[in-house]
């Protein structure tokens, strides 16, 4: 008897649970359907369309038409030396901007963190550039480096440091647009790192200090390991943005001189909206997307390894 009772109970209990589970699943599906449809409309459809475009020659006159050309655009992409050169420039630009932003951002955050008074005012002033639209930063940069009336150009000329045209010579132009981006986005890194610094346990730092650890030792063995996850998140955010860098270059050099600042997004824009070679532009755009995803995965893997992401 007892055996029968024991055997039946779970059956009786599991049957309604299975029913509930089924109905809950269908409820979730119903609730998610509108969101999924919107997502499909906003992301999946354009993404699929972009893939189709990359396999086609796109005609514009009389409405958009797709003429299937197979892998022509992709073959062209991997054999186009101009696009290859743009990728190389993008890599150099990426390393310079993200590297400088991370270094300066962490340094500024550490300095601000140590401030005893005036912390809020300092932080407000430091954060200002990142609240400006990138297009305005570009226009401001162009204005300040203009040979005729630019303040920076004048200072460099008068001090004898540089007498050429800042945006007219290859190295200077590349450095100028890099520094404009660094100026705008270093504050974001500082802000994120500053938030991370708040989580560093004060008692451990105190104890280390009492034990005679120097500032650099505390930084290396306590502070940086504690905020490593935050730094990687900051790195991830800036990296995703740096790959798509566009506004400032468009408003200053537009890729010149001698293609020195023509990184991949500028070439993509030129191919798509100046030559209207939309099929090829779609292939370039998808390659950028692939690189972004790859990079994001690298950072996420690092975060996972550190146990900071699931």
């Amino acid at each position: 008897m007892a055996t029968t009772t024991v055997d039946e109970r779970p059956r009786e209990a599991s049957a309604p649970r299975a029913k509930r589970k089924e109905s809950r699943y269908s409820f979730e599906a119903r609730m998610m359907t509108p969101a999924l449809l919107v997502l499909a409309l906003l992301s999946i459809f354009p993404f699929v369309y972009l893939i189709l475009m990359s396999l086609s020659a796109v005609g514009l006159i009389g409405g958009i038409s797709l003429d299937f050309v197979g892998l022509d655009n992709w073959t062209r992409l991997f054999t186009d030396s101009a696009v290859g050169a743009s990728w190389l420039r993008s890599v150099v630009y990426f390393i310079l901007t993200v590297g400088l932003e991370m270094g300066l951002g962490i340094a500024i955050a550490l300095l601000v963190h140590e401030l005893v008074w005036g912390k809020n005012i300092a932080l407000s002033l430091i954060l200002m550039p990142m609240f400006m639209a990138p297009v305005i930063v570009g226009l401001l940069g162009r204005f300040l480096t203009d040979s005729t009336y630019g303040l920076y150009a004048w200072v460099l000329r008068e001090t004898g440091l540089y007498s050429g045209d800042i945006l007219g010579t290859t190295t200077a132009a590349f450095l100028a647009v890099t520094l404009m981006d660094v100026w705008q986005w270093t504050p974001l890194i500082a802000l994120i790192v500053l938030a991370g610094l708040a989580s560093v346990p004060g008692q451990i730092l105190e104890a280390a200090k009492v034990d005679g650890a120097t500032y650099l030792q505390r930084l290396r063995h306590i502070v940086l390991p504690t905020i490593a996850g935050v730094i990687i998140v900051a790195l991830l955010i800036r990296s995703m943005d740096a790959i798509r860098y566009f506004d400032i270059i468009t408003n200053t050099t537009n890729g010149g001189p001698a293609d020195a600042t023509k990184i991949v997004p500028i070439r993509l824009y030129e191919t798509g909206f100046r030559f209207f070679d939309l099929g090829y532009a779609a292939a370039i755009g998808l390659s950028m997307l692939a690189v972004s995803i790859l990079l994001a995965n690298v950072f996420l893997r690092i975060l996972k390894r550190r146990g900071l992401a699931r």
């Binding site: 020659a57 005609g59 514009l60 006159i61 009389g62 409405g63 958009i64 038409s65 003429d67 203009d146 040979s147 005729t148 009336y149 007498s163 050429g164 045209d165 800042i166 945006l167 007219g168 010579t169 290859t170 132009a173 050099t253 537009n254 890729g255 010149g256 001189p257 001698a258 293609d259 020195a260 030129e270 909206f273 100046r274 030559f275 209207f276 070679d277």
Partner: protein
């Protein structure tokens, strides 16, 4: 009132996209009253002038015009996307002959249809337009169709500080062994030597550089260089005159590796090497600002900058001449554009847009533009230049500063002196190729030979791509 009444009757029957009912005779201008049209234009002087004074058109037609002014590249992009959308949101289009008309002429309305329509008002005589401009700014491929009416006419000329030439001219003449003042037979070599002298004597003159260029990696660089290319006998294509004037779908093989083209490129490099160093970062606006700020004594510039120059710190101190000669000729880049009607727009809106095109290019409007304080521009009709007040304004003191360089511009417009870049479907890509390669040459990354052979290769690829697109279309 009668007009308004008939317009109301007319509109009552206008539900669809086209209408064949005849307007009341004498009331052709009012037949589309109540329509709103969009005009997209590059941010140029005539459009600014028109935007500031649209009332006469609205009174005449009852049509509301909304104007969008953009930088040329942004405008071209919007126009192309509008053509692709099939909506025809911009019924009136600033039809740049090279970047809009050549690649997208199939999407522009043929204006001859409107001109022949008995129900529509007609343009003032077409032969009143400056002779070559109807072809250069309005046609593509053949003379049967007309896609735009000439609207503006900027032309590159030689601007120089005549105050310096008056003061130091004699000394320059002694040092250089020739008269440095612009003459009929002034050459680019003379220009180079004069610039060198001015640079060497900057302490004396107070102007740091002899001359400047608009040599940024931009459309401006192609314009600036083309003057030298043609002056030295080089050509973009075998029949540059035809390809530049009427345009062609089959321009033939690029001629950019000829000895003459190389000589032109070499001379251009030489000129830029002694020019104001900011030349490498200047487009036309940058160069004009540098010139007005007293940064240099001479510059090859669009003549329409005269309206700014004559109210700047150097007003009254500038002389204007056609550009120097090379071994072959003097070549002066013409940058004129027409306005046309979007062929994708509904037929009724196209007809209403035709009224605006007519009005904006007629004699009275061009005169009003010329006098406008916000605009300026340059008339494209001979009859405007023949007006006594306009003719008088060609000599200082002038109430119409854009007329001051006109003696030089008329010289530049002579068939033997005018410079017309190729009007081909692939021009956007060809233009980018040449200004990129030239920029590399000026940056010292390659010599003239490599620059020109790379450009030729780029042209061939671009033309091939354009042919494929046309075949598909």
């Amino acid at each position: 009132m009668a007009g308004a009444g008939s317009a109301a009757l007319w509109l009552g029957g206008c539900g669809g996209s086209s209408n064949t009912a005849k307007p009341v005779p004498g009331d052709e201008w009012k037949q589309f009253a109540g329509t709103t049209l969009n005009f997209i234009s590059e941010n140029t002087a005539p459009t600014s002038a028109i935007a500031a004074k649209l009332d006469p058109f609205t009174k005449l037609t009852g049509i509301e015009i909304k104007i969008t002014q953009l930088e040329l590249a942004a405008m071209v992009q919007k126009v192309a996307l509008d053509f692709a959308s099939g909506e025809g949101a911009y019924q009136i289009v600033y039809a740049d002959p090279y970047q809009v008309m050549a690649p997208y002429n199939q999407a522009l309305a043929d204006l001859t249809e409107f001109q022949q329509d008995p129900n529509l008002p007609h343009a003032e005589p077409f032969d009143d337009f400056v002779s070559f401009q109807l072809d250069a700014s309005g046609r593509f491929g053949d003379r049967e169709k007309l896609f735009a009416l000439p609207y503006d006419a900027p032309t590159m000329i030689w601007m120089y500080r005549k105050d310096l030439f008056e003061k130091y001219g004699e000394q320059m003449k002694q040092d250089l062994g020739f008269d440095p003042n612009p003459r009929d037979d002034s050459t680019w070599d003379d220009f180079y030597k004069t610039s060198e002298w001015l640079k060497k004597n900057a302490d004396k003159t107070g102007v740091p550089y002899g001359h400047g260029h608009m040599a940024k990696q931009h459309d401006s660089l192609m314009n600036d260089f083309s003057n030298l290319l043609w002056a030295y006998g080089g050509q973009y294509f075998e029949d540059d005159a035809k390809v530049g004037s009427l345009g062609s779908a089959e321009p033939g093989e690029p001629q950019l590796t000829s000895d003459e083209a190389l000589a032109g490129a070499d001379m251009y490099r030489k000129l830029v090497s002694i020019a104001h160093p900011a030349s490498l970062g200047w487009d036309w606006t940058g160069l004009a600002e540098g010139f007005m700020a007293g940064g240099m004594a001479m510059a090859p510039l669009w003549h329409e900058f005269a309206s700014g120059i004559e109210v700047s710190d150097i007003k009254g101190k500038v002389g204007y001449a056609r550009l120097p000669r090379g071994p072959k000729r003097s070549a002066n880049m013409f940058g004129g554009t027409g306005i046309g009607v979007n062929g994708v727009a509904p037929k009724r809106e196209q007809k209403a847009a035709w009224l605006f095109v007519l009005w904006a290019t007629q004699k009275d409007t061009q005169l009003a533009n010329l006098k406008s304080k916000v605009g300026g521009g340059t008339p494209t009709r001979d009859s405007v230049y023949a007006l006594p007040e306009v003719e008088k304004a060609r000599k200082p003191p002038s109430k119409l500063p854009n007329m001051l360089p006109m003696d030089a511009v008329f010289e530049a417009w002579k068939p033997e002196n005018v410079g017309l870049r190729p009007k081909i479907a692939a021009w956007n890509e060809c233009d980018t190729t040449i200004f990129t390669q030239l920029s590399k040459m000026l940056a010292g990354q390659q010599g003239p030979e490599k620059c020109m052979s790379n450009t030729k290769e780029g042209f061939e690829k671009a033309i091939e791509n354009a042919k494929k697109s046309l075949r598909r279309a």
